[in-house]
């Protein structure tokens, strides 16, 4: 019984930790001051990137906050290969990334 209780507790803790946002909070107002570099591609309806291959730039307004943080960090750290996004994200601090993610997650 004790063992089962332990199991239940640990699964509850696990479920809670999964449910809580994995990344620190960002400030959308601060993010709005940083998005000048983003708008040229992500602010144009139907915009396509020309390099390294022509395909549509994704819509990011209203995207999930955690995903945006994961994506920007992966671009910055070179885990996700895209020269343009890597170059842009290289200059961003963790807090900048949180702020930008908060801005785009909120924008409607």
């Amino acid at each position: 019984m004790k063992y089962i209780n332990k199991m239940m507790m640990s699964s509850i803790v696990l479920a809670l930790s999964l449910a809580l946002p994995a990344y620190g909070a960002g400030d959308p107002a601060a993010g709005a001051q940083l998005n000048a570099q983003c708008q040229g591609c992500h602010g144009i309806v139907g915009f396509k990137s020309a390099y390294p291959k022509v395909y549509s730039v994704p819509k990011i307004g209203g995207q999930n906050y955690d995903y945006l943080v994961i994506a920007l960090k992966a671009y910055r750290d070179g885990e996700r290969a895209n020269e343009t996004m890597h170059a842009i994200a290289s200059n961003l601090s963790d807090q900048d990334i949180n702020d930008l993610a908060a801005y785009y997650a909120k924008t409607e």
Binding site: K59, I60, G61, Y67, A71, A81
Partner: protein, 131 residues
């Protein structure tokens, strides 16, 4: 005279040996070619229905309409189809690394990845292009 005969015999042997090698090579090439065509056929002849694949595989993280409830997973509903297809292909080929997505995309054919991209694009979207 004996030298000439020896040379002829050697040449004949060499020719036979070469022929044998080439015929073996031919078999190898044929089997490679056949396996390629058969895989291509297996891949494209029966692409599964995109909404069915989504319902079986993608749904748990991305939702049937692509409006993901799992925060770490992106919303896909209304996203650009070619971007989604590229993402799937990048996961399959290892350009993009994510254990879960690599595993799922490895089971998809090119035709299915294109169909899934179009399926999600056609769904109701909460994604926008903010100024």
């Amino acid at each position: 005279m004996i030298n000439v005969i020896n040379r002829v015999v050697k040449a004949v042997r060499l020719e036979k040996e070469l022929k044998r090698m080439f015929s073996k090579l031919g078999v190898v090439w044929l089997s490679v070619f056949m396996s390629l065509t058969f895989t291509a056929q297996a891949e494209d002849s029966s692409p599964r229905d995109a909404s069915k694949i989504v319902g079986e595989v993608c749904v748990s993280c991305h939702g049937q309409d692509g409006n993901a409830m799992v925060m770490g997973a992106p919303k896909l509903g209304g996203q650009k189809a070619d971007y989604l297809t590229k993402a799937l292909m990048d996961y399959k080929t290892g350009i993009r690394n994510n254990a879960v997505m690599s595993a799922f995309s490895s089971t998809l054919s090119s035709a299915e990845m294109i169909a899934i991209g179009k399926y999600f694009e056609s769904q109701t979207s909460t994604l926008t292009v903010p100024k």
